[in-house]
Amino acid sequence: MLDRPVSTDEEAVPAPEPAPAAGFGAAGPEWDNEPMAQAQAAEQPGPVEGASAAAQHPPKLQARHVNFFYGDFQALHDVSLDVRANQITALIGPSGCGKTTFLRIFNRMHDLVPDARVTGEVLFDGQDILASNADVIQLRRRVGMLFQRPNPFPKSIYENVAYGPRMLGWSRSRVDQVVEQSLKDTGLWDEVHNRLRRSALNLSGGQQQRLCLARALAVDPEVLLMDEPCAALDPIATLKIEDLMQQLKHRYTMVIVTHNMQQAARVSDFTAFMLMNQQRAGELIEFDSTDNIFNRPKDSRTEDYITGRFG
């Protein structure tokens, strides 16, 4: 516990960029308010220190006053936050606070729900993905997703990973190459390379989830959305996924919904805490560097939640 504040984790990652957040001990009061300010008002140039971090990790996804409705029921109320490029952003909060709903807006999976309606803006590299003329197919290729339960297709291991690349019409040799690379990226290659034609359903839960990750990586996305990706996995498999997240961070922007606060603390750079308001609509309570959220949250509701005094 003690040796695992997020910033120390970052230093262990072989990412080319330097860790953005200062360590536990180095955080002085003068630095204190900056990540929040950058995160919530990224269009304004931050102070000197913040500016370099902002340049290194510009906002990849920007939610602006997002409201979400299922029919008449409002599930999200005025949520605004920036997801920074090549950083891991965790969404935490009690069940029903709308974090999964919010996550699924980023690749418009809510389109599948009849009666779902969103207002506000979600900018992806500056383009509003909620606009009626936005190309949803293209969006979903660029914003991949990993689900709560491993959901490999009932096909072979190879077919699972090759599905996306084939759909994009890539050549056979390129598909082969991408399958191998994706399986290597997820640490599966050594485990499965001699049984690629076997059914994916014979893999263990942890392997299945890494296969799903490989399948998502195969179409070369820019963002990965993860909806409680370790909820169905044992601790070892969970740590493997977390390890992969750190390894892949320099190539992808990641957003993870998790019920496991320790997981959020371990893997993420930024943490958003959400809560249901009186009308049962999810609201963003606090969004800050993970270091600040878990060491010195500003909102007492955040503190109550992360210290387990809530719900």
Binding site: M1, D32, Q262, R296, R309
Partner: protein
């Protein structure tokens, strides 16, 4: 906030009350050691030395307790800070107890010798340090970081007194080599008091950290 972690909260309460108890023991030890010096009371001095074992035992127990809580409860935020700062306080209090023992030992040695001079500045310094110890423990109990900051500011007075005592005692030594042994012992006692005051500042810093999450330097 409503507690959904009753057991955890109980463990934290036990830790807290242990630290408070240790604080009052240390405060008493410092008072008794100075009294043993001024009153030339060897029995009291020996009582302080014996009492240190109990302090050491409590120190060990409280540190084990905090490790156990960290290992089993995965505290974060204010809980983590509480355990961290209390753990550090426990270490400082244990050292303060050692300083009291040093003073008591010095008192026993001085009590065999004729008094060098009337004790004026030393008891003044001791009184100041004692009030600091008392106040900072109050700030810990009341969780009052503003008071903690103010207490830390009083360290300057102690330093001033320490410097003037130093000059005075050095003068004694220079004037008469026969004074050297006694003056040196008194010098060490003054040094112990000065160190106790430094540790008071450290504890005040812990109080601030506990409430803000920021590690500050209060001096």
């Amino acid at each position: 906030m409503a507690t959904t972690r009753t057991h955890f909260d109980q463990e934290l309460e036990q830790l807290k009350s242990g630290v408070f108890r240790m604080g009052s023991m240390v405060e008493q030890a410092i008072g008794h050691s100075m009294e043993a010096l001024v009153q030339r009371d060897n029995a009291l001095a020996r009582a302080v030395i014996r009492g240190d074992e109990e302090l050491n035992e409590l120190h060990r127990e409280l540190r084990e307790r905090s490790f156990m809580i960290m290992a089993t409860q995965q505290p974060v935020a204010r809980d983590l800070r509480l355990i961290f700062s209390f753990q550090h306080m426990v270490i400082e209090l244990e050292r303060m107890g050692d300083h009291a023992v040093n003073i008591a030992r010095g008192a026993i040695r001085l009590n065999d010798l004729p008094q060098l001079k009337p004790y004026i500045d030393l008891p003044r310094m001791a009184a100041l340090v004692q009030s600091q110890v008392h106040d900072v423990l109050g700030a810990v109990i009341d969780a009052d970081q503003d008071r903690a900051r103010k207490i830390a500011e009083r360290d300057d007075e102690v330093d001033t007194l320490y410097r003037s005592l130093w000059d005075e005692l050095v003068e004694y030594m220079v004037n008469d080599p026969g004074n050297v042994q006694r003056a040196a012992i008194l010098l060490f006692i003054a040094k112990d008091l000065e160190r106790i005051a430094d540790r008071v500042t450290n504890i005040a810093e812990d109080v601030v950290f506990l409430h803000t999450g920021h590690i500050v330097e209060l001096s």
